[in-house]
Structure formats: structure tokens, C-alpha cells
């Protein structure tokens, strides 16, 4: 008999998941999710005005000059951005110097702003062609403390939608497959989404609105993998040979058969996540972090559909089979009783005759 989906195995899976969930919840509770550049608060040195009139090459030199000045003043530049006004009148170079809105004293920031303004004023056309003209016309330095807002509305609506999806999936699987399988899909879906979020919190992966997309991806992947496994189980359990197998053995064999399907799907999805993640490392780290989140979702869903959910279903099936067998046993006893009674009645009738 297979030991793959014993009670011990289920408890081990539950313990691992619970430990990770509690740790993730703890980290989230105290620190929240780590925020990426799209949603985090920032302190930014903004240099805007006729920067837009510089050629791309000259603007590159201008940006280098500003960045070097800011760093020479002891501030680290995390990101440099450039945005151009749609009418080409104004251009804004932004130097992110802190990933929070209150990292420095106002006096320090004012001094930095004034210092950079003065330094730009000293630039000559030998260094950057025509810069003096553009500075005269107007290039301004300001320090901006930006406070982003949490995407609570998006998150809540997605959570409600996710809950509705799980209820529908449970109902469908319970009616089409078996109630135990429906329960497995429901628990698996909740488990996968929460565990993915817990791991993202634990690993301090910087995420923005992409977090909700990753959670939705995790839910859909979980449904796909679990349906693949339970679909195989359903077709196997229909055959008479399988009906005679013990619950855990039958579940283990079915999982073994569907392992290839799940692995193929997981490998394809993981390959996409890794390749796009590598692109992200080169182009922009936000993409890489988001893809790591996607990769975690795939790993968790594969683990859950091959180990955790089958172990849970095996426990449910073992109990259901046992109850069914007992019911059959009671029927058997009552049948014997009935036969005894019939025999006794016949004897009684015979005696009377």
C-alpha cells in the first residue's frame, strides 16, 4: 500500500503551509508588502523646464551632470526618469533619492535643491551646447515628496471576485466530480493564493498592483492543475478495478498518472516566468520581481495539486469509503437478520400447519 498520502503526509503538508502562512502573515502585519517603484512613496529631485529642448545626447550629459552632483552631496540616486510634456515645451528629469517621503529633513532637501540649481547655472555651452540659453529661459529644481495611495479598492474587489470563483469551482466540482473533490479544489485554491502572497511577503519581493495580478494568476493556475488531477481521478475511479483499491492507494496512483500533465504545465509556465524575469533583470527590476511572484504561484500550485490537495482528498476519500463500507456492513447484518426472521416465520408457519 502506498504511503504517499498517509495522515502523516497530510499533517506534514499542513504544518509546512501553516508555518509559511503564519510567517508571511506576521511579516505582512508588521512590514506590509515591499512596494515596487509604481506604488512606493518617494523623495524625488525634479529638474524641469527647457530640458526638453536639449538633444537626446546633450540631455544624457545633463542628466549625468545632475546625478553626479546629487551623489557628490551624499545622496544615493535609486532611479533616474525622464518625461516630456506632450507639447514638447517642458521636460522633467527625475532623480529618486529615497524610497520614502520623509527620509530627509526639509532643510537638507532645500540645500540640495538650491545647490543643484546653482550648479546648473554654472554649466557652460562648452560642456553642453546651448545650455546657458535654456537655463536663462527656465530650468527649475524642486524636491518632491510623493505619497502613493494603496490600491485597496482593486484589492478588495479582486478578493471578492476570487471568493466567488472558488465557490463556483467548488459547486461545479462537487456536482460533476465528487463533493470531496470540490472541497479539495476550494481548499487548494485558498491555500495556493494565500501561500503565494505569504511567500511574496516573506521574501520581501517588491510588488505593486502586479500583486493582485499574481494572486489571480495563482488562483487560475491552481484551478487548472487541480482539475487536471481530479479529472484523471474521476475517470480512473469509474473503473471496477480502481473501486477495489484502498483510498490512499487509488489517489496515489491517479496522482502519479497526472504528474506528467501538471509538471508539463508547470514547467512551461515556469519557463515563461524565468525567461521574462531574466529580461526584467536587464530592463527593469519591477518586471523581474513580478515574474518571481508568478514563478512562486506556479511552484505553489504544482506542489499543492500534487501533494497537499491529493493528501487532503485521500483523507476525505478514506473516511467516505470507510463510512460507505460500514453502511454496507450494516445492510449486510440487517439482511442476515431479515433472512433469519424469514426463516423463523416459515418455521412458525410450518409448525402451525
Amino acid at each position: 500500500m502506498s504511503k504517499a498520502f498517509s495522515k502523516k503526509h497530510l499533517f506534514l503538508c499542513l504544518a509546512i503551509s501553516l508555518a509559511l502562512l503564519v510567517a508571511g502573515a506576521f511579516v505582512f502585519g508588521f512590514l506590509g508588502f515591499s512596494e515596487d517603484s509604481t506604488v512606493r512613496d518617494e523623495t524625488v529631485v525634479r529638474v524641469n523646464g527647457f530640458v526638453s529642448q536639449l538633444s537626446e545626447e546633450d540631455r544624457g550629459e545633463f542628466i549625468d551632470f545632475c546625478e553626479n552632483y546629487i551623489e557628490s552631496e551624499g545622496y544615493g540616486v535609486i532611479t533616474v526618469r525622464y518625461a516630456r510634456d506632450t507639447s514638447w515645451t517642458d521636460g522633467a528629469c527625475e532623480f529618486v533619492i529615497a524610497a520614502s517621503a520623509d527620509a530627509y529633513e526639509q532643510a537638507e532637501l532645500d540645500a540640495l535643491s538650491e545647490g543643484l540649481d546653482t550648479a546648473i547655472g554654472t554649466l557652460t555651452s562648452d560642456q553642453i551646447p546651448d545650455i546657458e540659453t535654456w537655463v536663462d529661459l527656465g530650468i527649475h529644481v524642486t524636491v518632491v515628496e510623493s505619497e502613493n495611495t494603496f490600491f485597496a479598492d482593486y484589492a478588495w474587489r479582486a478578493a471578492v471576485a476570487g471568493a466567488a470563483v472558488l465557490v463556483i469551482a467548488f459547486a461545479y466540482a462537487a456536482i460533476r466530480f465528487r463533493p470531496g473533490m470540490g472541497l479539495g479544489i476550494l481548499v487548494g485554491g485558498v491555500h495556493d493564493v494565500l501561500l503565494t502572497l505569504a511567500l511574496i511577503a516573506l521574501f520581501r519581493l517588491p510588488v505593486g498592483v502586479t500583486l493582485i495580478a499574481v494572486a489571480a494568476f495563482s488562483l487560475l493556475t491552481s484551478l487548472l492543475f487541480n482539475f487536471a488531477v481530479f479529472g484523471r481521478m474521476r475517470s480512473n475511479f469509474r473503473s471496477e478495478d480502481w473501486k477495489e483499491l484502498p483510498a490512499r492507494e487509488a489517489v496515489a496512483r491517479s496522482v502519479k498518472e497526472s504528474r506528467r500533465t501538471v509538471f508539463t504545465g508547470a514547467i512551461v509556465l515556469a519557463a515563461v516566468a524565468i525567461l521574462i524575469g531574466v529580461v526584467g533583470v536587464v530592463l527593469g527590476l519591477d518586471l523581474a520581481y513580478a515574474m518571481i511572484g508568478g514563478l512562486l504561484a506556479v511552484i505553489v500550485s504544482a506542489y499543492s495539486s500534487l501533494l497537499f490537495v491529493p493528501a487532503l482528498f485521500a483523507a476525505i476519500k478514506a473516511r467516505t469509503d470507510k463510512r460507505r463500507a460500514e453502511r454496507a456492513k450494516y445492510d449486510y447484518v440487517s439482511d442476515r437478520e431479515r433472512k433469519k426472521r424469514e426463516k423463523a416465520e416459515k418455521q412458525a408457519v410450518g409448525a402451525e400447519e
Binding site: T38, T86, A92, E145, D153, A169, F217, T264
Partner: protein
């Protein structure tokens, strides 16, 4: 299927697919004065993959550093520096460093209203952030070329209440005199399709309907009295800003009115509807003028050219799926190749041609997941066919029973995933809504391709080879020797 018919079908399908591949993926080029743009380049992208626009709103009494610099000395003396901006001395006491509470309260209302309006626009990855405490920075993704960004950003920051009136409002006194239409009269506004472009739909409560009927009735009768023209003009204002006007020729006694201005795009009509919805609750109305100087265009937040690279990676993986299928399933792999291309092109057509679909990071995940769905269930069917043949069935019987064997699970998985994405699309907003919509389309196309199109292609190709078994690379299970 006969050989001749099969050849004809193969040629037609190949030509159609090749044509669609050309239209779908060829890089843009010029032909004379015309520019050819591929379907792929027409896909709308979120701010993370395609960049977008942002602007900074300055409330009344707040100046940017650059605006402050160009003011004369007298005006400058009326302002004091607060972080990187300048606040009017009327609202900011530089000595005590305190900001007027009334201003703060009005500003908070303004931020909440602006956020609600941009949320209602349904932009993916839209963000509203505070800068230096008293300015608002709003970022949106790239929008339809026909949308006037200036108009949209201006309208979405309109202050004041809703007025539906028979005369223009051109002074603040007139605004005060005009009747305020709030949630007791108007239940909401939305967007509806019109004969040309879009219309704004305004829904009235029963009290509002009566009031509106009275208003239009009096307008018609007064226009008949004046008799210079047979119609009167009804104006809809938010504060001092006229957002809509409509010609009234008869009494309008209805729950909903549709006003088709010159709205070529849904966004333009939605902007007006969003503004109307945000001023129905009296507590949400603000009276602070919010202005902006520039609208900036910014690069994708996930890095320059990210969309191109992501498309390349996804393309390589799609190619890998096709090569794997060809190597493993031979003839069936060929049918899969055609089926997969059909799925891919149909999805591209839907995503690029259905208005309002935006592909962002979530959209990429949805495309990849639906591709995995399509590939996985096609492979599953082919494995079953191969398995059936190995047990000794004839080729035709194997194909039939192989497809039949995989039917139940394929249908179940597609139904559940389609239902799941439909619910997510209907309930969610922003990135998840677009992601689910793309996945919904991908799943429906995957179902069609896996259950019908792939099978059709397989029969189409199977008519050609003499040795069909070798074409599909089928092998029988070796019979065990009886001892």
C-alpha cells in the same frame, strides 16, 4: 475526406493563416503615404509595458516652483515656500508652519473626488499620488489617439455641484442661484453606444424624472412663446463648467436621457459620466479649482522596450511548443501547429480589435496561461489517441476514442476556467479585470481550437499520406509471448 478536398483546404487554410500572420506580426512600414501597422502594434498597453501620461494638479492658492519663479515680486511676496511648492499666505502661515484647516479639508475632498473619477474611467495601472502634501499627481496609460488629453484631464478635475438648467451659467452668482441636482434627483450616469460614437446616459430618480419633465416642459412652452425657434437648449454644468448641452423640442418624461455630444471615443463620454457621478453626493463635492500646466509622457514603468522583449520571449516559447509537438506527435503535431496558430491569431485579433482591452503584466500572464491551457489539452488528446492506438484499435477508431476520452476533462476545465475569468472580469477593476477578460477570450478560443479546430485540421492532414500510421508516428504495444 478526399485527397483533392484535403489539398484545397490545406492551401486555403495555409494562405489565410499566412496572411493573418503577416497582418498580425509584420513590423510597421510605409507604402507611399500610407503607413502599414500590424495588429500587434495596435494592442493597447498598460503603463508598465507601454508607458503613459501624467500630470500634476495644483489647487487654487498653490504654485509650482517654476510658476512662482516667473511671477512678479509683489505676487511672490503673497506666497511662502512649503516643501517644493509655494502656498498662498491666505492658506499657509509660514511662521507657525500651519495650513488652513478649511483648505486642507477641501483639498482632501478634491483628492477623493479625483481618485473616484479616474477609478471610474477604468484605466489599468492608473495611479493618484500626493506630491508635497498639497498637489496631486495622476498617471494614466496611453489612451486612444482620438482622445484629447487636455480635455480629459481638465474635465476630471472640475469643481462644483451638478446643475441642469435652461440658461448658461457665467458668473459665480448664477451658479449659486442654479438648482443643484444631487443623488435625490439623479441616480447615476453612464456611457451608452450612439448612432455615431458614444452618448452619456443620465438616470433620474422618480423625483428627478418629474423635475426634469417640468423643466423641459417649461422650456418648450417658453420657446413656443418666443417663437423665434422651435427648440430650447438645456445645459448641464458641473460648477461653472458646461459639460453637456442638448436641444429640447418636447417635454422629456423618462427615467434615462441619452446625450450624444461629439464623443468619438468611450473615454470622452466616460469622463463626463465619471464627473457627474462624483458630484451626486453633497459630501463629495469640492469647490477648489484644480489646474495643471503640462501633461507629461513617460516611459514604461517596467523599463524601455519591455513590451517588445516580452513579446519576443512569449513568441520563442510558442515556437518551442510547436517544435515539441512536431517532434513528438509528427502528423498530429502538424495539426497542432495549425490549431495553435489559429488560436494565437484569433486571440491577437480579439485583443487588438476589441476596444478597451489593455495588455499589462497581468495580461501577459493571462496570455501565457491560456496558451498553456490550449497546449496542455491538445497534448492530452494526442497522448490519448496514441494510447488508444497502442492498445490495438484502428487508426480512425483511435482518433475518435482518443478525442472522446479527453472530452470530459477538456470541457470541465474550460468551463470552470471560463466561468472563473468571467466572474473575475465582472467583479474586479483595473489590472485583474483586463487580465480576466484576456484569459476569458483565450479560454473560449482554446476550447474551440482543442475540441473542434485541431480535430478538423487532423482529419484534413490525415487524408494526404499513404502511410497514415507512420505519419502520426504511432506504434503498437508489443504483444507478450505466450509461454
Amino acid at each position: 475526406m478526399g485527397k483533392g478536398k484535403s489539398v484545397l483546404l490545406i492551401v486555403i487554410v495555409t494562405v489565410v493563416l499566412a496572411g493573418l500572420l503577416f497582418i498580425g506580426f509584420t513590423p510597421s512600414f510605409s507604402v507611399g503615404v500610407q503607413n502599414f501597422k500590424s495588429l500587434l502594434s495596435g494592442v493597447d498597453l498598460g503603463t508598465d509595458l507601454g508607458g503613459g501620461y501624467y500630470t500634476v494638479y495644483y489647487p487654487e492658492g498653490v504654485l509650482s516652483a517654476s510658476d512662482y519663479a516667473i511671477e512678479d515680486e509683489e505676487t511672490q511676496s503673497e506666497y511662502s515656500q512649503y516643501k517644493g511648492i509655494y502656498l498662498s499666505n491666505e492658506i499657509y502661515d509660514a511662521e507657525t508652519q500651519t495650513v488652513d484647516e478649511e483648505f486642507v479639508s477641501e483639498f482632501d475632498n478634491a483628492v477623493a473626488a479625483i481618485r473616484a473619477r479616474f477609478d471610474q474611467m477604468g484605466f489599468v495601472n492608473c495611479s493618484v499620488a500626493l506630491e508635497n502634501d498639497y498637489t496631486v499627481r495622476v498617471s494614466i496609460p496611453v489612451v486612444n489617439d482620438n482622445v484629447s488629453l487636455q480635455d480629459m484631464f481638465t474635465q476630471l478635475a472640475y469643481s462644483g455641484s451638478l446643475h441642469i438648467t435652461d440658461s448658461t451659467i457665467d458668473t459665480s452668482n448664477a451658479e449659486r442661484r442654479a438648482e443643484v441636482w444631487d443623488s435625490s434627483l439623479v441616480s447615476g450616469a453612464g456611457v451608452a453606444g450612439a448612432d455615431t460614437g458614444y452618448a452619456v446616459a443620465i438616470n433620474f430618480t422618480s423625483e428627478g424624472r418629474t423635475r426634469f419633465a417640468e423643466l423641459t416642459s417649461s422650456m418648450v412652452s417658453s420657446s413656443d412663446d418666443s417663437s423665434s425657434s422651435s427648440s430650447a437648449t438645456l445645459y448641464i454644468y458641473v460648477g461653472m463648467n458646461q459639460v453637456l448641452s442638448v436641444s429640447v423640442t418636447e417635454e422629456m418624461d423618462q427615467d434615462t436621457i441619452y446625450i450624444s455630444g461629439n464623443f468619438d471615443t468611450r473615454e470622452e463620454a466616460q469622463a463626463i459620466a465619471s464627473v457627474i457621478n462624483s458630484v451626486l453626493d453633497e459630501d463629495d463635492v469640492f469647490d477648489l479649482d484644480m489646474t495643471y500646466s503640462y501633461i507629461y509622457e513617460f516611459a514604461p514603468t517596467m523599463g524601455e522596450n519591455t513590451a517588445v522583449w516580452v513579446a519576443a520571449v512569449v513568441g520563442v516559447l510558442f515556437l518551442a511548443a510547436i517544435v515539441f509537438a512536431l517532434a513528438k506527435y509528427k502528423g498530429m503535431g502538424l495539426a497542432f501547429t495549425y490549431g495553435f496558430l489559429t488560436w494565437m491569431l484569433a486571440l491577437l485579433l480579439c485583443v487588438s480589435l476589441i476596444g478597451g482591452i489593455v495588455v499589462d503584466f497581468g495580461g501577459v500572464l493571462a496570455i501565457v496561461l491560456s496558451a498553456a491551457l490550449m497546449t496542455g489539452f491538445s497534448y492530452y488528446a494526442y497522448s490519448n489517441i496514441r494510447g488508444e492506438f497502442a492498445t490495438g484499435k484502428t487508426l480512425t477508431a483511435s482518433i475518435k476514442s482518443g478525442f472522446k476520452k479527453s472530452l470530459a476533462l477538456t470541457i470541465d476545465a474550460h468551463i470552470v476556467l471560463a466561468a472563473a475569468s468571467l466572474v473575475l472580469w465582472l467583479v474586479s477593476t483595473g489590472t485583474v479585470a483586463f487580465m480576466s477578460l484576456i484569459f476569458l477570450i483565450g479560454t473560449l478560443l482554446s476550447a474551440a481550437c482543442t475540441l473542434l479546430v485541431n480535430r478538423f485540421y487532423l482529419y484534413m492532414f490525415m487524408a494526404q499520406p499513404k502511410n497514415k500510421i507512420a505519419f502520426c508516428s504511432f506504434k503498437r504495444e508489443e504483444a507478450e509471448d505466450d509461454e
